[in-house]
């Protein structure tokens, strides 16, 4: 009986949170179009979410590209078609791995920090202070993060894809001696605009999802059980935010792939 009860209440709680999260999106969409418009907070958030993630993205991009180069080379060599190595690497990076890996990296590096920052601001009364200063916290705190997420994640995804293609190039061409022409031209011939566009659409949606979930988790910490736990509560919601946004990325990746 207890188990059923707790299952039910946690289901209700997660439904409530989902509702709140989408409501937050609507509120922000409404707030963004209202003046005043301030650019610097958005720049600051792009700096934090995007620019500061560049290193991680480059390193993981190169690594993933090299792994793909290695694996595809081994497989394709058995069929004697190593000349499609370039297109194999490029297509899997552009359509799948680029957007997904970038989004997961952003969750780990920036998403957790966003959630913790907002959570701490809430429990240390900074959000209340903003409200008392007649400054709208949705617009002042959440909107720049959301916009920066939507801008930064696609840009990071492009960087990731480019360095991954060259990671694959390094393994295929430099290490295994696939001809440079067949790697690059094969890739150029195989990839069409719709592949790049798919990756771009995915990364836009991931960018929005990740920042939205992490913002909502931290920003609404006071409405959950963790809200009364202080610093410990912040660590709980941050963990939640990372897990939920990672799953949301993977699941929506499947959905977008199925629809588009």
């Amino acid at each position: 009986m207890k188990t059923v009860e707790s299952l039910g209440s946690s289901l209700l709680a997660s439904l409530e949170q989902t509702g709140r999260t989408f409501l937050l999106l609507l509120i922000i969409a409404y707030r963004i179009v209202q003046p005043p418009y301030n650019l610097y907070p958005i720049v600051r958030q792009i700096y934090f979410i995007g620019a500061r993630s560049l290193g991680v993205i480059v390193i993981s991009g190169v690594t993933i590209g090299m792994v793909l180069g290695l694996q595809f080379y081994n497989t394709l060599e058995r069929f004697g078609s190593v000349d499609i190595l370039g297109s194999a690497v490029a297509l899997s990076v552009l359509r799948e791995l680029g957007p997904v890996m970038t989004a997961l990296m952003v969750v780990g590096r920036a998403g957790s920090a966003i959630c913790a920052e907002l959570g701490i601001m809430r429990i240390s009364e900074q959000v209340d202070a903003l409200e008392c200063m007649a400054i709208n916290p949705d617009k002042f705190l959440v909107a720049p993060k959301l916009l920066a997420g939507i801008i930064s994640v696609p840009l990071l995804t492009c960087v990731f894809s480019v360095v991954a293609i060259f990671g694959g190039y390094f393994v295929g061409v430099v290490l295994f001696g696939v001809s440079e022409g067949s790697y690059l031209n094969g890739m150029i011939d195989a990839v069409v605009w719709s592949d790049v566009r798919l990756g771009l659409v995915k990364s836009l949606i991931f960018g929005l999802l990740v920042t939205l979930i992490c913002c909502s988790k931290g920003f609404y910490i006071h409405l959950t059980k963790s809200g009364s736990l202080g610093a410990e509560g912040v660590s709980y919601v941050t963990t939640d935010a990372v897990v939920i946004s990672s799953i949301a990325v993977l699941f929506s990746d499947f959905l977008i792939g199925a629809i588009l």
């Binding site: 995007g50 078609s81 840009l155 150029i188 011939d189």
Partner: protein, 149 residues
């Protein structure tokens, strides 16, 4: 971290991102959305199986254009392929457009075999002589048929 530094680094990041995007869109995606100088030809095939928009058009093994679109004509039950041929490449009226495969599981491409007429095709015209995609099954069955005969 002062304001100017943040703005500078963010600016650099955005530039790197946009450059990466341009590389992907223009070079890797083969500029399939940027009109390259050239002219359009069409060709009808009974089968284009495996050919995709963006595929290469070759003449004598050299890239001379790309496939810009593939459409189905319900009346004749044929595929209409639009080709974008680079400027300066001359295609005779009796040239043959043939769909070929690179390697066994490689990409499909269109090969232009030059003709002997002096009249040249211009923008919007059609290549009448075509050879459709040869599927592996057809090849095998034809081979069996030949040995029997």
């Amino acid at each position: 971290m002062n304001k100017i530094n943040v703005q500078l680094i963010t600016g650099i990041f955005v530039v790197i991102g946009i450059l990466s995007f341009s590389y992907l869109a223009i070079t890797v995606a083969g500029a399939s959305f940027v009109e390259q100088p050239g002219y359009n030809l069409s060709a009808r095939f009974t089968s284009v199986s495996g050919l995709r928009p963006g595929a290469v058009v070759e003449g004598a093994g050299v890239r001379i254009g790309t496939v810009s679109s593939i459409e189905f004509d319900p009346e004749s039950f044929e595929a209409i392929v639009e080709l974008r041929i680079n400027d300066g490449v001359l295609v005779q009226e009796d040239a043959i457009a043939a769909i070929r495969t690179q390697g066994i599981i490689g990409e499909k491409y269109i090969k232009i075999v030059p003709g002997g007429f002096e009249e040249l095709l211009t923008d919007g015209m059609q290549i009448y002589e075509t050879e459709s995609a040869i599927s592996l099954e057809e090849l095998v069955s034809r081979y069996i048929f030949q040995t029997e005969g």
